[in-house]
Subunit: 380 residues, 2 copies
């Protein structure tokens, strides 16, 4: 239906694009807001992929037969009503609606004001599509005003809304978490690390560093910090310098780093705590694995870290001792993603430990209930 009614969507999107300079959007932001026939096809394709995912609802998660014969199981159920707050990319409107409906939830969508007309049109189409297949049209609702107060009012409705998922800047998420009277799935910074261990295959390390830092520097699972074992700083850092320079990456390094990358500027404490989201990398030479783990614990945001190593014990220790949503060995940090981890699609990447951690797909939008089938059992 997105494809069939593309004309209607493109017209409404034009209205948003015309208003965009008034909202002070940058060229990149305007580009993200723009719908094109091929982007609409992409949205329709993503929607069909979600439709084809296995239905999570009703799945028996686990079960047991008790000594008294009671057959107990946990069965997956929807969370209920999801309040989803997001930035001004219209494809997110469709993604979020499809994931929530597929997982049996109702969703209240609150998009960025810059995309209001696009979202109103998308919502009309989603509603019509729900009606056509016999689902309740109110399963997908849109906040049809851009007033900011509305968010605060909705966040008070902890008795009616089961979870809020805010996507956007840190200040938005902090505000939502502070005001919400229901649980919030939070999606904070990714200050992600690539640690190159003494025993690393250096070719592999270069490839992983390049991919983690440069493939898409503006996303949360891109690397912001490089840690290098002191024993290989002299061999690895000059090669890294060449690669990074070729990719146009600015480096802010410790004293040791700057010995081997003379063009790097000096890093201060704050650099190690910064999510650049840009072609900038902080770099530090560490004494050993323990120092790497300590650095990640102290400066990182517990999002995504990778070790490049061929040392089995080092790999296993890194996996077990680094307390991040995703911890990898010999792979790019960019893999911390719902699609890449096999969830089919994602509504966000949680930096919480409660309920859902890391990529959130259909399963993370569900709860469960206990069911028990008996034959007259009573408790002694």
């Amino acid at each position: 239906m997105l494809s069939i009614r593309s004309q209607e969507l493109l017209v409404e999107n034009e209205r948003d694009l015309a208003n965009a300079p008034g909202y002070g959007l940058s060229a990149a932001e305007i580009d993200r807001l723009r719908l094109t026939p091929s982007r609409l096809d992409g949205m329709a394709k993503a929607l069909r992929e979600v439709a084809l995912l296995p239905d999570p609802i009703g799945e028996t998660i686990d079960s047991t037969v008790r000594p008294n014969g009671l057959r107990v199981s946990r069965v997956r159920v929807p969370l209920g009503v999801v309040f989803f707050i997001f930035e001004s990319r219209p494809n997110v409107t469709v993604d979020a609606a499809s994931l929530c409906v597929k997982s049996g939830n109702a969703v209240i969508l609150r998009g960025g004001k810059e995309a209001l007309h696009s979202n109103l049109a998308l919502h009309r189409i989603l509603r019509d599509a729900l009606a056509e297949v016999g689902l309740p049209v109110h399963a997908v609702q849109l906040v049809e005003t851009v007033e900011r107060d509305v968010v605060g009012e909705l966040l008070k409705l902890g008795n009616l809304i089961d979870v809020t998922i805010p996507r956007g800047g840190k200040s938005l998420i902090e505000r939502v978490a502070a005001e919400a009277t229901m649980p919030v799935i939070k999606h904070f910074d990714g200050i992600c690390h690539v640690y190159v261990d003494q025993s690393a295959d250096q070719e592999m390390a270069l490839r992983i560093l390049q991919n983690s830092k440069c493939q898409r520097p503006g996303v949360c699972n891109a690397a912001e910090s490089l840690l290098v074992h002191a024993a290989i700083a002299d061999s690895f850092l000059p090669r890294a310098a060449e690669m990074l320079q070729g990719q146009g990456v600015a480096v802010r390094g410790c004293e040791q780093t700057r010995r081997w990358i003379p063009w790097a500027t000096a890093a201060n404490e704050q650099d190690y705590r910064t999510e650049y989201l840009d072609l900038i990398l902080s770099s530090r030479v560490v004494e050993d694995l323990d120092a790497a783990i300590d650095h990640i614990d102290q400066y990182g945001s517990h999002h995504t870290e990778t070790i490049v190593t061929n040392d089995f014990a080092a790999a296993e220790r890194f996996l077990m001792e680094v307390d991040s949503a995703a911890v990898l060995v010999n792979a790019s940090t960019r893999f911390n993603d719902g699609g890449e981890f096999g969830l089919g699609a994602e509504i966000g990447i949680s930096t919480d430990k409660f309920h859902a951690r890391g990529p959130c797909g259909l399963r993370e939008l569900t709860s469960y209930k206990w069911i028990a089938r008996g034959s007259g059992q009573v408790r002694e």
Copy 2:
């Protein structure tokens, strides 16, 4: 060690018992506060049972090999620091500490002021036991003051405490949920229903009703409300009346109920919304299964409900359509319990849908992280 140092514990417990009348505790409350050698043995036994449960930490929850060869899994990890607020039963101190330590968490215990001396002594012993086996003694901490403000201060520490679990009255839980800056596992009312369907085995229904209502009326999974299918009201209610009268249960019924239980008083709307925690039962005759499900949805607290039936379709519809933490067929509501459902032990029964629902044991005190083992994979 609880058994070895029982003398020390009994002396400190005596101090609490001596102060108890000053706190206005009832005889039943004083009894719950009292430690005896046999109760200490029970606590030590429960602790040993938790110690013998399988270690949840490090368990691979699920795993997959991606098309690019990346081996992805989710591995169970502790939540972190648990803040546990509870009433004045000293056995809960030991239960909570053992469950938190076994699941790899640290716990901050805040017991009722009436049990302060008992808890101080128990905490000394727990700390010594941790030291003896080489675990960090700070894994179990006790709030050593009875000032109420301390709770508010701790609830502000969302950056240091990962979850708060309050146990106690509704007002305490509401206050904690409102003030907490971290997730809260809530444990609200149990307004639990027994629905006797048209096709029920009436002998079984009487047994289940008796057990659900009378076996331990003061707990959250005891039944508060009886629903009876209209087609069997004339045969079932007189028999129920006899049983309930024999058990000393007061009945507050609808007009139809009072036709068959003449000594029942008239129920008002509020009766159907009340958690009596006493030998009082509200009762209503309903037209059919739909009316029973509607009543439960409208008046219940989504805690525990059971249907007594021999109708397969009715049983399955009840299981799927009743939105409660536990839904049972032909079994007592009293089975909604960590021990009875096979968790080994429980720290509470969650009435939330988020993170944990129903009985919370070791697993519910954990989170997970994503780990991925690769051989140099980068993202296209």
